[in-house]
Structure formats: structure tokens, C-alpha cells
Subunit: 244 residues, 2 copies
DNA sequence: GCGCGGAAAATGTCAGACAATTAAATGTAT
DNA sequence: ATACATTTAATTGTCTGACATTTTCCGCGC
């Protein structure tokens, strides 16, 4: 775990990288204890605050956890699905919002990926997932629901669909695509007419999944994708007109 | 940008969260300058090292960049696709390696997602992507290629396929799925026979993409998925036997 | 008008200290 | 002997103050 003083400054980044590499390529295993801050400081020939900055960087990526007290210290942390989800969603959302990604691009990606899950979901869906989907469909039909709540419910519905595939890796990858769309979807005003259309498509999808009919699920997802796209384009157009 | 001293200790995490929230929900925009470390220290009523730890956390997530010198400081950073890719890949790889994800699960997820890209790639593939795919196929046929290089070439081939869909959001989401599989694939010993099979399937896929035949691409990807799965299962079985 | 140098502002780093926390070791009483 | 309380040591969390380094800006001299 040695560093060359090759590049100038930003020692804490170099130290963080050295430790990260040790973790990523398996030289340190889960729950293994890192040397204490004082020891690391001596090892890398820097001061303790510098070491601490490096450790905080790693903590921010959920690579380590720290524990105070005697025989405490920093430990290699097992990355949980929940934390990975969270990081992935944050990154995806920021990526979309900061790079002015077009609604069409994000929408296309999201539905393409969801359609990949549909056959598996049709095959493996549990009563739980179906129940969640039905519950969200019901909520989406309630009058007086705010656009934001409608969107949130839409996300929950689609996540239930994805989770139906019973593949945690798939769920993790999809989380980014589905959740990151929410800010874009929130720009849309959902009229009563459009909500009816969406609810009807959601119902068709849920029916298909329940009947384990992958083909029908795919067709309806495709239609939902197309419909969402037009809604989004309308919304974007309205925004553009208003701002000029 | 105020914090409640609600929870005890880990001030730097609280401060990081406060600033992160300000960035994520748009109260600070790209390239906006944060207050100086001294000002933040005064604002949050903590010392400068504590503020610095918080800032390093944010830097680790590529949320800010810092610049030394007069009128330097910390600035909200535009998250680039490259950095997002990198973070996503790191997280995905760790998630798989630390949670002992089964080969079948990761493989299924990867190919399901790739098959979602194939129709778009068939539609939009550029000469560049086709050239990359052909070049990697050629490399894969070279005798004396190490298993690791074969795997790396496989990843490059598949990324070219995904990039062919010309949707950066899709490429970003897929990067995690494709790259994170590499450590698992590296456990496989690719016999001459299996390499031939894979090269032949890759060729069929490239041909289909070139001919813009989405259906053929899908069929061959499905077959490749099934074949990879059996290879992986064999490898896992061998490892299991050897360790007992 | 142009270059040059210093002042100023900011981050990067260090040293040393103290507080807070925790687990193990030790001691004490039943 | 065992259970419980106490001490102790190790370690992270935080603060203070200082100095080094880097970069920009502004004024000065030419």
C-alpha cells in the first residue's frame, strides 16, 4: 500500500486511491481493519488530518465504515444493495439534470431497459409484486392526486414491475434509469385524460404480468413508452414556448 | 444551508449532506462557487478541518471541484459522463464481488439489458461501432490470447454494441452491467472450442447489426447468453470441486 | 500601454492538543 | 467462582493555530 509522490499535491486523493485500489482488487477483504489513522499517517508520511480526509473520501463511497473507541478504527465495508441503489440513483439523477439530457433520450433508455425486465417478471412475479402494482394503479386513479404524487406512484409501479424479475442485479441497474426520470416526469402536467390512458396501460401491463404473458406485457410497455414520449415532448414544447 | 444538530457526532457527514442537498435539488447550480472553507466553518460553527472533511466527501462523489489560489475555492461540478461511468462501474463491481452474487444472476441481468439495446443498435449503428466490433472479433480469434485479454476484448465488443444504440443514458446504465461482469468472467477458462463458439456468435451478432436485422441480433444474443451461462456454471462447479 | 512584482485570498498541509467513546483488563463484592 | 463496577488504553472526532503554496488582481515603474 505504497504511493509514489509522482504527482504534486492532493495527497489525500492519492492516499484514498491507494487504499481504494487495495480494497477493489481484493488485497483487503470485507470487515478487515485498516491501520489506525496515526499508523497510516506514519506509513504515508503525512499528517493525521490528511489521512482523515482520505478516509472521508472512502467513507463517502461506502467503501469503509469507522468505529470509535478502543479496537475501533476503519473497516472495509460490505457494500449493501440499499447503499448501492442510493449512490446509483443520486449519480444518475445528477447526470441527467446537469447535462440537459433530452427527455426523449432518457425515456427511450428507461423503457428499453424496462422491456428487458418484463419477460422475466412475467415468468417470476410474486403475489407481492402484483399487489403493489395493483395498489399503485388504484392510487393513480384517485381524483385530486397531485402531479408529483402521480409521478411517485408511477415510479413505485415500475419498480415493482422490475423487482418482479426477481433479479437483484437487474433491480439495481434499473433503479438508476427509473428513478432518475422522475425529475423529468415531474415537468409534465398530467391531465385527467392522460391519467386515464396511463392507468389503462398500467392495468394492461399488470394483467399481462399476472397472466404470465410476456408478449402482451411487451406490447403494452411499448405503447406506454410511446405515449409517455408524446406527453414529454408536449411538456417540453410548452416550456420552451413559455420561456421565449 | 442550515443544519439541525439533531444527531450526535459525525459533523462532517452532516455538513456534507447539507451541501449535497443544496446541489441535488438545484439550490446551487453548476459552476457556482461555495463559500470559502473559513466561511463555511463559521456558518456551521465548526472548525476548518471538519469543513474540509465534508468537502472531501463531496469531491469523492464528483459533486464539487476545488481550485487553489485567490478567488479559487470549491465549485459545483458538472458531472461528466466519463466520471459517472467510472463511479457506476466501481460501485457495480464492488456490489457483485462483495455480495457473492451468483454468476447466473449477473449473467442474466447483463444479457437481458444488452438485448434491450440490440434493436436500437441495429437501427442506428455507425461504421465506427461496426469497425470496433469487427476488430475485437478478430482479436478474439488470435491464438495465444490470454483468458484475461479475451475477456477484456469481449467487454469492448459488447460496449461497442451498446454504444451503437447511440443513447448515452443507455450506455451509462449498461456500463455497470457489462464491466462488472468482467471479474466473474475472468474465472472462466476459455478453451479453444468455446472461443470458436463465442467468436462465431459475435460474428453473427455483428452481421445482424450491420444488416439492421434486430430479430437476428436478438436471437444470437440469446444464444450467446445461454452459452455463456453454461460456461460460467461449469467454471463455478470446477471451483467448488477444487475447494472441497 | 505593457510588463513585472507584490499583496491578498484561498486551498493544502502540518503539529499538537483535548474530548468522547468504546472494549478489554482489572478489581471488588457477594 | 461469578457477577458487577471501575479503571485504563486505544482510537476516532474535533479544535486551534500556524505555515506553505498557488493563483489572481492591482498598482507601479518604464
Amino acid at each position: 500500500m505504497k504511493t509514489e509522490p509522482k504527482s504534486p499535491s492532493d495527497l489525500s486523493a492519492q492516499i484514498a486511491k491507494a487504499i481504494r485500489d487495495a480494497i477493489v482488487d481484493g488485497r483487503m477483504i470485507v470487515d478487515e481493519r485498516l491501520p489506525s489513522e496515526a499508523e497510516l499517517a506514519a506509513e504515508f508520511n503525512v499528517s493525521r488530518p490528511t489521512v482523515r480526509e482520505a478516509l472521508k473520501r472512502l467513507a463517502a463511497q461506502s467503501l469503509i465504515r469507522t468505529q470509535r473507541g478502543a479496537f475501533g478504527g476503519a473497516f472495509v465495508k460490505r457494500l449493501s444493495y440499499e447503499e448501492a441503489y442510493g449512490q446509483h440513483i443520486t449519480t444518475s439523477t445528477l447526470l441527467l439534470s446537469m447535462n440537459a439530457v433530452r427527455f426523449e433520450t432518457a425515456c427511450e433508455a428507461r423503457y428499453a431497459l424496462e422491456r428487458a425486465c418484463a419477460p422475466l417478471a412475467a415468468q417470476r412475479r410474486s403475489p407481492d409484486h402484483l399487489a403493489t402494482m395493483r395498489a399503485e394503479i388504484h392510487r393513480q386513479g384517485q381524483p385530486g392526486l397531485s402531479d408529483e404524487s402521480f409521478c411517485a406512484s408511477d415510479v413505485t409501479f415500475h419498480r415493482a414491475l422490475v423487482d418482479g424479475a426477481a433479479n437483484p442485479v437487474l433491480s439495481y441497474q434499473l433503479a438508476g434509469a427509473v428513478e432518475a426520470m422522475q425529475p423529468l416526469m415531474n415537468m409534465i402536467t398530467f391531465t385527467e385524460r392522460s391519467r386515464e390512458e396511463i392507468v389503462s396501460l398500467h392495468t394492461a401491463i399488470a394483467d399481462a404480468i399476472e397472466a404470465q404473458d410476456a408478449k402482451a406485457a411487451d406490447v403494452n410497455l411499448e405503447e406506454l413508452a410511446a405515449y409517455t414520449l408524446t406527453l414529454g415532448q408536449d411538456a417540453m414544447e410548452k416550456r420552451a414556448r413559455k420561456s421565449t
